[in-house]
C-alpha cells in the first residue's frame, strides 16, 4: 500500500553521499537503493518520513522533515498551537487517546 504521491520531503545530496549504504539498511519501506556508489530514492511515494535514514547518515547527506503521519496528532498540534503529538502518552504526557 502506498500513500499520497509526490508529497515526501525526502532530499538526498549525492555529493555528500559516501555510499556506505546505511540508509538503505535502515529504511523500513524500501525507498532507497544503492546505485553506482550513491544512495538513490527509487520509490519516493513509499516514504513515510520516519527519519531513520537521516538519523543514520553520518555524512548529513539525507534530509527529511521527520514527523508522525497521524491526523489526530496533527489536529492536536493545530488546536494547541504546539508540536504534533499523538494522544498515546509517553514522556510526561498523560496517557490516553487512540493513536499508535
Amino acid at each position: 500500500m502506498k500513500y499520497l504521491a509526490g508529497v515526501t520531503s525526502l532530499k538526498l545530496s549525492s555529493h555528500k553521499c559516501t555510499g556506505c549504504g546505511m540508509c538503505v539498511e535502515v529504511c523500513p519501506r524500501g525507498v532507497l537503493e544503492m546505485d553506482e556508489g550513491d544512495a538513490v530514492a527509487v520509490d519516493r511515494d513509499s516514504c513515510m518520513e520516519c527519519g531513520a535514514c537521516m538519523n543514520n547518515c553520518a555524512f548529513d547527506a539525507i534530509w527529511v522533515d521527520k514527523g508522525v503521519g497521524c491526523a489526530s496528532a496533527l489536529i492536536n498540534g493545530m488546536i494547541t498551537g504546539g508540536e504534533p503529538v499523538c494522544g498515546c502518552g509517553g514522556g510526561d504526557k498523560p496517557a490516553g487517546g487512540s493513536c499508535c
Binding site: 499520497l4 522533515d65 508522525v68 509517553g90
Partner: protein, 370 residues
C-alpha cells in the same frame, strides 16, 4: 533523557513476585553483578494482558522496569538485544529468544512500543547510550566489536554512528518483528528485505480497529442526546415517543458511520479506491449508508431535508474517522497527512454547517414556519 534512573533489575530481584513480575524466573551472574533472568515462554496471563491492550486503555500502563535482563544463560560472548519497556514489545522479544542465551537491554520509553517511541524521541540515541552505560554493558559483554541489536523500527530514533562513537558498541538493526530474530542471527546478523519491511496485512489492521472504534464511540452519547432533542422537541411540546420512534433510524446511522469509518475502511483499506484516507472513508461511508437506508427507507422516504442530511452527514463522519486511521498505519507520512487535512478540514466544516442548516430546515418546516 531520564534523570530519575529506575533501579537496575538486579536490585528488584527480591520483591518481583510481590509486584506481579512472574516472568522473572531467577538470576544470572554477570561481570557487573546479578541480572534477572526472564522466562522465554509466555503464559496465559501475558496473552490476556496483550488482549486487553488491544481493546482498551490497558496499554497505557503496561510497562516493565527498564534495565538489563537475561534470557537463557548468557555470558560475556552473548548477544545483546534492545527493546522498549512496553511489556508487549518486551514479551514478543523474550518469546523470540526461547532457546537462545542473550542479554536484553530494556530502554525507558514510558511504556510505549519501539516504533512510536522512536517517533516521539524516547527510544533514542541518548537513552540507548545512557542505558548502555548505567547497566555497565561494556563489562557485561566482552565480545570483539561489541554489538547491540536494535529493532529495525528503532532506527527512526537511534543514530548508529553516534552510539558507536560514544560507547564503542556497534548497532546492528535487526528485523522488524522479534519472531524473525532466530533467522536473523542464523543469517549472520543480516535482515533480508522481508524482515526489514513492515507488514500491514488484514489481520494487522483488524487488531487495531477496536482502538479506532472505542475513542469514536466516546462521542456517541452526545450524538444520542442531540438526535433525541431534534426529534423530541415539537410545537406541541417534548415527546419522548416521537424522539425514540423518529430518532431511532438516525441513532442507528450514527453507529453505521462509526462502523464504516473505524472498522470497514481500515479492514478493506487496500481495496478501496484512491490513496487519500479521507476519500477512502467517504466512499465507504457513502456505500454503507446507502445500503442501510435502502432498508430503513423501504417503507417510505423521509423529507428531502432529512434524506439530504443523511447522505451528507454520515459519510462525512466515516471520512473523518478513516482519516484518524492514518496514525495507526505503517505507510503514511506527515507531509501527506498535512496535505489531506488542508483540503479535508475546511470541507468537513462546510458540510457540517450545511448539515445543521438542513436539520434546521426540517424543524422549521415541521413547525410550519416555512
Amino acid at each position: 533523557m531520564n534523570n530519575n534512573q529506575p533501579p537496575p533489575p538486579h536490585r528488584i530481584i527480591g520483591p518481583h513476585r510481590i509486584i506481579g513480575m512472574r516472568w522473572i524466573i531467577g538470576t544470572v551472574e554477570s561481570a557487573a553483578g546479578p541480572v534477572s533472568r526472564v522466562s522465554t515462554v509466555l503464559t496465559g496471563a501475558d496473552l490476556w494482558g496483550h488482549f486487553l491492550c488491544r481493546i482498551s486503555g490497558h496499554r497505557n500502563d503496561y510497562k516493565i522496569p527498564p534495565g538489563l535482563y537475561a534470557a537463557g544463560n548468557p555470558g560475556p560472548r552473548s548477544d545483546v538485544f534492545a527493546s522498549a519497556n512496553y511489556k508487549m514489545s518486551f514479551d514478543k522479544l523474550r518469546a523470540a529468544l526461547d532457546g537462545m542465551d542473550a542479554w536484553v537491554l530494556v530502554l525507558d520509553t514510558g511504556g510505549i512500543n519501539v516504533w512510536c517511541a522512536a517517533g516521539k524521541g524516547t527510544f533514542s540515541t541518548e537513552e540507548l547510550i545512557g542505558r548502555l552505560r548505567s547497566e555497565k554493558l561494556s563489562e557485561v559483554v566482552s565480545h570483539k566489536g561489541k554489538r547491540i541489536v536494535v529493532p529495525q523500527l528503532g532506527a527512526a530514533g537511534v543514530s548508529a554512528h553516534v552510539v558507536a562513537r560514544e560507547t564503542g558498541f556497534k548497532v546492528g538493526f535487526g528485523p522488524v518483528a522479534a519472531r524473525d530474530i532466530p533467522a536473523y542471527v542464523a543469517a549472520g546478523y543480516k535482515a533480508d528485505r522481508r524482515m526489514k519491511t513492515v507488514p500491514f496485512g488484514i489481520l494487522d489492521r483488524l487488531v487495531l480497529t477496536p482502538m479506532e472504534i472505542i475513542p469514536a464511540m466516546k462521542w456517541y452519547p452526545l450524538f444520542f442526546i442531540f438526535v433525541l432533542a431534534i426529534f423530541g422537541i415539537n410545537p406541541s411540546g417534548v415527546s419522548i415517543s416521537d424522539a425514540l420512534s423518529f430518532g431511532a433510524p438516525y441513532l442507528l446511522l450514527g453507529l453505521v458511520a462509526v462502523f464504516s469509518g473505524a472498522f470497514v475502511t481500515p479492514l478493506l483499506l487496500p481495496w478501496i479506491p484512491f490513496r487519500s484516507f479521507a476519500v477512502k472513508g467517504w466512499i465507504t461511508g457513502l456505500a454503507v449508508v446507502y445500503i442501510v437506508t435502502r432498508f430503513l427507507w423501504a417503507g417510505g422516504r423521509p423529507s428531502s431535508e432529512l434524506a439530504s442530511f443523511t447522505m451528507l452527514f454520515f459519510p462525512l463522519v466515516g471520512s473523518y474517522l478513516a482519516l484518524q486511521f492514518t496514525g495507526s498505519t505503517t505507510f503514511t507520512g506527515m507531509s501527506g497527512v498535512k496535505r489531506e487535512l488542508k483540503t479535508a478540514l475546511p470541507l468537513y466544516m462546510i458540510f457540517a454547517a450545511v448539515s445543521v442548516i438542513l436539520l434546521a430546515g426540517y424543524k422549521l418546516r415541521q413547525w410550519g414556519v416555512i
